[in-house]
């Protein structure tokens, strides 16, 4: 009788442990793989954003032909209508597209005239090293509120800048010739209106020369 009681107790305990195990045993390799899988991969995310999200957002852009005369006549009104800003920042971003004629080409920029008959550099496509958050924050597609750890959100900036530097800019530098016509899509960050609007410094993520 006593043995039966012990047997029942062992079966009950074994069943409980089987249903609700106190610990799991796994190989170090599996544990590491799980940890990596749980870690945010900014490069992978940026790739997905670049391929899937960004091309569908072009309708959100303002054309350079609309924007430039608008901020030349009333910068505050243009800012209110076409820009976006982040948090409490006084700086702001434009997400724009346009066509223009290449006026000059240097190591760090390609300068364009955009409005009809203009011979002044109105837009400067940045072709040097790309820093900061213009591509991440300029489109309005990504929000810090979706990222528990701001380090992940900041890593997206570095990954997007890297994509532009390695894919968009080499082609642009190769094809940009003075006098050629070029179309572009990109983001501009305005931190200081005195220096950043004339010309408008645009980080391009798409360009096409004719």
């Amino acid at each position: 009788m006593r043995a039966v009681r012990w047997l029942i107790a062992i079966v009950v305990i074994a069943s409980v442990c089987w249903l609700f195990p106190l610990f799991h045993v796994m190989s170090l390799k599996t544990a590491t793989a799980e940890k990596v899988a749980a870690t945010f991969n900014a490069t992978q995310f940026a790739e997905m954003f670049w391929t899937n999200q960004l091309p569908t957002a072009l309708e959100k852009t303002v054309t350079a032909k609309t924007l430039l005369p608008a901020f030349q006549s009333d910068a505050a009104a243009a800012k209110k209508k076409f820009s976006r800003s982040v948090g409490l920042s006084e700086g702001y971003f434009y997400f724009l597209r346009g066509e223009g004629k290449i006026l000059s080409v240097s190591d760090d920029e390609v300068s364009l005239a955009v409005t009809e008959g203009s011979t002044n550099a109105e837009v400067s496509l940045q072709t040097g090293l790309i820093f900061g958050n213009a591509l991440r924050d300029g489109t309005g597609l990504l929000s810090a509120n979706d990222y528990p750890n701001s380090q992940d959100f900041n890593d997206i900036s570095a990954a997007l800048n890297h994509i532009v530097e390695t894919r968009t800019l080499p082609k642009l530098r190769e094809q940009a010739k003075v006098g050629a016509k070029i179309s572009f899509v990109g983001c501009a960050e305005v931190g200081d209106e005195a220096t950043d609007l004339k010309p408008l410094k645009v980080i391009p993520f798409q360009t096409k020369t004719e």
Binding site: G87, G91, F131, A144, N145, Y147, S150, N154, A158
Partner: protein
């Protein structure tokens, strides 16, 4: 019959007085319960003292009793403060966390008790615990400082970095923003990267050791101004303060003055007063019924240099 009428009247008057007294006492009680807690990671750093005192002052201006709790960079002490403030009937918490992960549990406890928590300056790694988080855009600020570092130190040479507290997101956002620029210049070699734990004395100690091992460094990037002041002190003692360019981050008054005197090259102004005041205003709005707050609100950082230092002082723009 007449006596009964008088007794009834007397009882009614006494009852009315009693009700009025009770109501008055309840009103006083309610007023006494309108308390806001300001929980600060450490008061062993003047920058955080300004942050805490400004938050407290703004809460008082808005009509609340406000108390500052010093967590002394200890998550356990911070947890104990939260237990006390939950039991103490505080209406809101203005919170500067000690640890991005370790502080989440404290915020969740307050949330469960119906107390809103507004993070200031330091982040917690959660988007569903705090009511809102008001955070300096450290990454962008350090991208700008990195660009200035390259311009000032040059594209070649050895340099060192003093990191802040390793468990704090600001430490890494600052470091990553700086490196997103500096690492693009292969001629710039980081020969030492050590934690000075956001502390002046520790910064001095670490810098002394770095100088002994790497006497040829041309610049040092410090994750906050306390460490920058400690590093500068070590450089003065070693007679190298003219050879090594020091960069800080925070916008502390002593560093802003040192920039004006040409001792330190630059810092990132974080506007602690602006963040503290805004968080107290958020708490007031919450108590009055507002619920739709953005989870993470970036506060821009401005670079202070010798050229523009006249515009800055007293932990902000003049």
């Amino acid at each position: 019959m007449k006596t009964n009428w008088r007794k009834t009247l007397l009882a009614a008057v006494l009852a009315t007085v009693a009700i009025l007294f009770t109501q008055n006492s309840r009103a006083q009680d309610a007023a006494a319960k309108s308390k806001i807690a300001v929980v600060i990671s450490t008061l062993n750093n003047p920058w955080f003292v300004v942050l805490g005192e400004t938050a407290k002052a703004r809460a008082i201006e808005l009509g609340y009793d406000a108390t500052i709790f010093d967590s002394q960079n200890d998550t356990a002490k911070e947890a104990s403060h939260f237990e006390n403030l939950i039991a103490g009937g505080y209406k809101a918490v203005l919170f500067n966390p000690t640890d991005a992960n370790g502080s989440i549990a404290n915020v969740l406890k307050a949330k469960a008790a119906g107390i809103p928590v507004f993070c200031i300056d330091r982040e917690i790694n959660s988007t569903n615990a705090a009511t809102a988080q008001m955070l300096s855009d450290s990454y962008s600020g350090c991208v700008k400082l990195g660009q200035l570092f390259v311009k000032s130190v040059g594209k070649e040479g050895e340099y060192a970095e003093l990191l802040g507290i390793v468990g704090d997101n600001n430490t890494w956002n600052r470091s990553k923003g700086f490196h997103s620029v500096v690492d693009r210049y292969p001629g710039l070699k980081m020969v030492a990267q050590q934690s000075g734990e956001f502390d002046r004395a520790k910064g001095l100690e670490v810098m002394e050791a770095i100088l002994q091992a790497h006497p040829n460094i041309k610049g040092v990037f410090c994750g906050n101004d306390s460490m920058a002041m400690g590093a500068y002190q070590a450089l003065v003692t070693a007679g190298k303060d003219k050879d090594v360019k020091v960069f800080g981050f925070d916008g502390a008054d002593d560093v802003v003055k040192s920039i004006a005197e040409g001792k330190i090259v630059a810092t990132g102004m974080q506007f602690p007063k602006k963040m503290a005041q805004q968080s107290a205003e958020f708490a007031d709005e919450y108590i009055k019924g507002k619920r739709d707050f953005a989870q993470k609100i970036a506060v821009p950082v401005e670079v202070v240099t010798k050229e523009n230092v006249g515009k800055y002082g007293d932990y902000g723009k003049k």
